[in-house]
């Protein structure tokens, strides 16, 4: 659905996106992560033909965006952070106006979309009277109008309260389950990305520093949580037997290469220590992301 091949964008000598490549196949929810200024919005702008790449090729739905923008975007919907509308017009009129930039849209389709996003009854009110959550729903409605196959969401939960964020998350899940959409999600909410996305790419200073499955990120070899009445004694014993290489705080241990949690449990029980629990500590996307973009520690030159 989305293909970026060696895409670079420079603004007045500053490289905003540097040699970025990735593919998003049909039906996937793909997360684009990175701090502010990492190049996410520029990359999305290039996918939508709003920003011209300095070099590289972008294909959306099999069409080159630079050469064939109309075909590329025909079945694409997009939502941006803080969605902007014609506040002095009604929600219905806004949808009518935006739909004419894609293809003729019958009133029945507009009604259907309004119902889908839950704005029925408020569609004739002026947008200036809408709450932030309602504006987000209207943004979603305008993105769904052309019957998209691909949805590009740039910080869709930006500015929403916790309830709104939850609602948006549920909506994204519905979009994929009920409509089978491919979704590109750019978000700062790593918890949200973890719950929604199947794959992620992380950008740092315009460069892609990671691309992979969320499941792999979470299952990456990490710490093991150990609950025992004498954590210090247990770790001393396990170290002596060469079963662990490190311990952290009063809960986590790092297994030595080739060792399993079953061996740890057996060693502790054999030594007569009370073992209350032992389990693989699952790494969150947040842990992974923060470790990945952590600034390098300054090294002493001496």
């Amino acid at each position: 659905m989305i293909e970026l091949h060696n895409v670079t964008k420079k603004f007045a000598g500053r490289t905003a996106v540097d040699d970025l490549s990735f593919r998003v196949p049909r039906g996937e929810i793909f997360g684009l992560l990175g701090h502010n200024g990492a190049g996410k919005s520029t990359a999305i702008g290039m996918m939508l033909g709003q920003v011209w790449p300095t070099s590289g090729e972008i294909k959306i739905c099999g069409h080159d965006v630079a050469a064939n923008r109309r075909e590329a975007l025909m079945r694409v919907g997009a939502i941006f952070e803080s969605p902007a509308f014609y506040d002095y017009l009604s929600g219905w009129r806004n949808l009518e106006i935006l739909s004419t930039y894609s293809a003729p849209t019958p009133a029945a389709r507009i009604r259907e979309v309004i119902e889908w996003v839950g704005l029925t009854g408020r569609e004739q009110s002026k947008v200036r009277t809408y709450s932030h959550g309602m504006r987000s729903r209207l943004a979603l409605a305008q993105a769904l109008l052309p019957g998209p196959e691909l949805l590009i969401l740039d910080e869709p939960s930006d500015g929403l309260d916790p309830e709104g964020i939850h609602e948006m998350r549920q909506t994204i899940i519905r979009l994929q389950h009920e409509l089978g959409l491919t979704i590109l999600l750019s978000s700062h909410l790593l918890n949200e990305v973890e719950q929604l996305c199947t794959r992620i790419a992380v950008l740092q200073q315009g460069k892609k520093v990671f691309e992979g499955n969320v499941a792999d990120v979470k299952a990456a070899r990490g710490k093991v949580a150990l609950k025992t009445s004498d954590f210090a004694g247990a770790t001393r014993l396990l170290r002596e037997r060469g079963l662990i290489t490190a311990s952290a705080g009063d809960r986590y241990i790092t297994l030595a290469a080739g060792r399993t949690t079953a061996e740890i449990a057996q060693a502790l029980i054999t030594a007569g220590m009370a073992l209350e629990g032992i389990w693989q500590h699952e790494q969150t996307v947040e842990d992974f992301y923060l470790n990945l973009i952590k600034p390098p520690v300054a090294t002493d030159a001496h």
Binding site: Q50, A78, Y101
Partner: protein
């Protein structure tokens, strides 16, 4: 599809309160000028001028004469302001508000989008001029009789016309006034296509028109007057001359149309290569 896009562009344009500022200002200015003409020395001075030239003032102080007298300052001062205000808003305001990014996530080409906007701007220019002419004539008819017309005209000291002939020329002059408004709007539209605030686009367009007017009035540039767009703006007054200098009017109109089209093309080229970011 173009019709639907244009209709919606007009809905956006005429749905905004600031679009009506110009109409409101015209109404206010016309009321004040009409009262000033009726109740100050303005009318008696005008009568003296007519009598001094051998015309019966009572025959020519009419609704048509007063309409044109009221139109001249409004066309010089207010029309550029409101035509450029709307022209400057057309693209830059949408970019500033963030709605342009929403539009450009759809499969419409930038050239088509701009053409729709420019067409809507031209319709606004026509509506503005028609409203100006209708209200001027309507207001003047309330206080002055329907008689012959006296009008100052460039190249000729003045023209005197019958009521019927005057009305026909008055209507015709608005065709050319609409072209003036279109040029003013187009220049602001061109600046609006660059990466700038809507107010900056309006100010730049007004500056362009002002500089043209100042240079045109410097004696040194007399022989270059055809190079100044504001010189051609005066052609609306030429329709009141006898005989009507059609060739000169056509030349001016072609030049004005070319300026308008050039402004659109430059704006489109600038917009086409622009990166639209939040």
């Amino acid at each position: 599809m173009f019709r639907a896009q244009l209709k919606n562009e007009l809905r956006k344009l005429f749905g905004k309160k600031r679009t009506y500022i110009g109409f409101g200002a015209f109404l206010l200015a016309q009321t004040l000028m009409l009262l000033a003409f009726k109740y100050t020395r303005w009318q008696s001075d005008f009568e003296r001028l007519l009598n001094g030239n051998g015309y019966l003032a009572s025959e020519f102080i009419s609704a048509l004469t007063v309409s044109v007298v009221m139109l001249i300052p409004q066309i010089m001062l207010l029309m550029p302001l409101y035509a450029t205000l709307v022209g400057g808003d057309l693209v830059a305001k949408e970019a500033e508000d963030g709605t342009l990014r929403m539009i450009l996530s759809r499969p419409i080409s930038r050239v088509r989008l701009l053409f729709v906007k420019w067409s809507a701007g031209n319709i606004f220019a026509i509506v503005l001029v028609v409203a100006l002419g209708l209200t001027a004539l309507g207001f003047a008819s309330l206080l002055f009789p329907w008689k012959g017309m006296f009008v100052f005209s460039p190249g000729q000291a003045f023209s005197v016309l019958s009521a019927h002939d005057g009305l026909v020329r008055f209507i015709l002059s608005h065709l050319f006034l609409a072209m003036n408004a279109s040029v003013m709007m187009s220049v602001a539209f061109m600046f609006s296509c660059f990466n700038m605030k809507p107010a900056a686009a309006t100010v730049l367009a007004l500056s362009f028109l002002f500089v043209s007017m100042v240079l045109e009035n410097i004696p040194f540039f007399d022989r270059y007057e055809n190079w100044f767009v504001t010189h051609h703006f005066k052609c609306w007054l030429l329709v009141f001359q006898d005989p009507v200098p059609w060739l000169q009017i056509c030349q001016s109109e072609i030049i004005l149309f070319s300026v308008s089209a050039t402004a659109f093309i430059i704006g489109t080229m600038a917009f086409q290569v622009r990166d639209i970011k939040s």
